[in-house]
């Protein structure tokens, strides 16, 4: 008790030094004035003592990389997707334009899902344990073929050698498809081909039409578009070859983290059904996503 009284006196002296004008009546309350002041200070300056409020980081991310297009619309894509997805949960889209950085970024990550081309997925599943869940759909189809087209008047026996191919896909992807289409022409012809990267399929076709490239590697659908836009230019083209059917974009989850990412997968699956969601998917050249069938999942394993 003696110790407590001594402590109270010492605090009072300090308080008197700090606040000499404090009335004696308050001093009579012994420790009470100090407590009042301390309480006031804590209340008044609490916002300075506490950390500033931080905007919550989205918990789940869609990691996006697509070697089939060079269109640099990532800023708009991210804003549009994030605005839409944030209404459904703590989700965000993270686009990448470099394959190596993308693959380094997803390594070991379980807080999200991947949105990739089917060609890239087949490659990725050899490096990471992944489970393909959804496939992109356009015009009711989940697959597409790539077509190599050139002007009708440019074909000659040595044509493939030194051909300048416009493509919206990156060089690795384009060369891979060209190998599939022109495999019979031999390595020499393939290695002499120049690939010119353009932002989108329609640019590749116009590059042939206006003489900036000798051939274009595009989707079948973009040729249908060309037919609608400029039938004359479409008629001037001939088909040099066609790839096999390829799936459109694939949505995959880390094999051991599918349940955690289920709500985000469901949000993506429903996106095409909502007008606002569909308009965002159009930016990726898709109308919607649907679950992969058992046979499609098998086909992706090959």
């Amino acid at each position: 008790m003696k110790i407590i009284m001594h402590f109270k006196q010492k605090m009072l002296i300090r308080f008197k030094k700090l606040c000499p004008s404090v009335p004696l009546c308050l001093r009579a309350f012994s420790f009470a004035p100090l407590c009042l002041i301390l309480a006031f200070c804590l209340f008044a300056f609490a916002p300075l003592l506490l950390p500033l409020p931080v905007k919550a980081q989205p918990k789940h991310t869609i990691y996006f990389f697509n070697p089939e297009t060079n269109i640099n619309n990532f800023a708009s894509l991210k804003i549009e997707f994030d605005t839409y997805l944030s209404k459904l949960g703590e989700y965000q889209l993270q686009p990448f334009n470099d394959r190596d950085i993308f693959e380094k970024s997803i390594s070991g990550k379980k807080d999200g899902i991947l949105l990739v081309s089917s060609w890239h997925y087949k490659n990725l599943k050899e490096k990471f344990p992944l489970k393909a869940v959804l496939v992109g759909v356009f015009n009711g189809k989940s697959t597409q073929k790539r077509v190599l087209s050139a002007r009708k008047d440019t074909g000659n026996p040595g044509f493939f050698k030194g051909m300048n191919v416009a493509s919206a896909g990156n060089k690795e992807y384009t060369m891979n498809i060209l190998k599939e289409i022109l495999g019979g022409q031999g390595e020499d012809a393939l290695s002499a081909i120049q690939i010119m990267s353009v932002p989108k399929d329609i640019d590749a076709l116009m590059a042939v039409g206006f003489g900036m490239a000798t051939a274009a590697l595009t989707s079948e659908n973009s040729l249908l578009n060309l037919e609608k836009i400029n039938p004359k230019q479409r008629q001037q083209l001939k088909q040099l070859g066609k790839s096999g059917e390829m799936f459109l974009a694939i949505v995959a989850a880390p094999a051991d983290a599918e349940p955690e990412n289920r709500p985000l997968l469901e949000a993506l699956a429903k996106m095409g059904g909502a007008p606002e969601g569909e308009s965002k998917l159009r930016m990726l050249g898709l109308e919607g996503f649907r679950a992969l069938s058992a046979s499609e999942t098998e086909a992706l394993k090959k």
Partner: protein, 292 residues
């Protein structure tokens, strides 16, 4: 006594940039370097630096003695043409290259998209807009208009043109043209777009008559243009770098100055909704930037 000239290093390239503080020029340089850095010995000069003058550039060219000069922008090209006319030269980002002096070893990529390519893109985005109005001056764009009218027919578009003799006649030409068209296409014409006031005037008058505007430069999108189609810089640099490598390998160049092969598209969705225009939803996948 003549100054010492170092031996030309095979495969060496000097990049002459008109001004690195111009965003488009800086992007062109970064893109070019990313494509060629591993394959060539590169040196860089920024003409925008205060410390550098013509004598300094001449000295650098003499000392580096590059096999090829890559010029970004007209200023860089004019300097290169003056100081090293005989060098293999590739240019890009030079506005209206046809007014530039062309040397024996000069090659480049045009900064302007072909009218036909632009018209195809308009048709792709807005299939319902079939009458396109153009204001032009006979002295500057008569030839261009003739070709554009031909290309427009291929895509089912009719171009309705109104000649503007001088900037004082702009208002009357605009009043004559706007009621007849679905959309106004702003082209690069020094008489029609004689200054910021005339440009704003065109955009405001078009807006008051609910006539959308197509344009060729990003700056117009902030003033309410519906669609802006410009050449895509990375694609132009890709073309220029392929050309540079072919020249360094003494390969034959098919076309001395090809058109850009890629476009950069800005779509103003606010205007799409405001005017109630039919937009081909599929085309949204081709947009680089959406304004909302």
């Amino acid at each position: 006594m003549a100054a010492a000239v170092s031996a030309e290093e095979a495969g060496s390239i000097l990049i002459l940039n008109s001004n690195m503080s111009t965003e488009k020029y800086a992007l062109a340089q970064t893109e070019f370097k990313s494509r060629l850095e591993k394959r060539s010995n590169l040196a860089e000069v920024n003409l925008g630096e205060k410390e550098i003058d013509e004598a300094g550039i001449e000295k650098i060219i003499r000392e580096k003695n590059p096999e090829l000069i890559y010029c970004i922008g007209s200023k860089a090209y004019m300097m290169s043409n003056k100081l090293a006319k005989e060098k293999k030269t590739v240019f890009s980002s030079a506005i209206n290259w046809r007014r530039l002096p062309m040397g024996r070893n000069t090659y480049g990529v045009s900064n302007e998209l072909p009218a036909g390519m632009v018209l195809m893109t308009y048709r792709y985005f807005f299939p319902g807009l079939k009458k396109i109005g153009v204001l032009y001056n006979q002295n500057y764009n008569a030839e261009w208009l003739k070709n554009a009218e031909k290309d427009a027919k291929d895509v089912g578009i009719e171009i309705i043109a109104e000649s503007v003799k001088n900037s004082n006649r702009l208002d009357s030409a605009l009043e004559e043209l706007l009621p007849k068209v679905d959309v106004l296409w702003l082209i690069s014409d020094p008489v029609v777009l004689s200054g910021p006031e005339s440009t704003l005037n065109i955009l405001q008058k078009s807006d008051s008559m609910k006539k959308p505007v197509f344009a060729y430069n990003e700056i117009f999108s902030s003033y309410g243009a519906l669609l802006v189609i410009d050449a895509d810089i990375p694609t132009m640099v890709e073309q220029a770098s392929m050309m540079a490598l072919d020249l360094l390998s003494n390969k034959k160049i098919a076309e001395r100055v090809p058109s850009p092969a890629g476009s950069h598209i800005i779509l103003n969705m606010k205007k799409v909704e405001e005017y109630g225009i039919e937009l081909n939803k599929e085309a949204i996948g081709s947009v680089n930037k959406i304004i909302k």
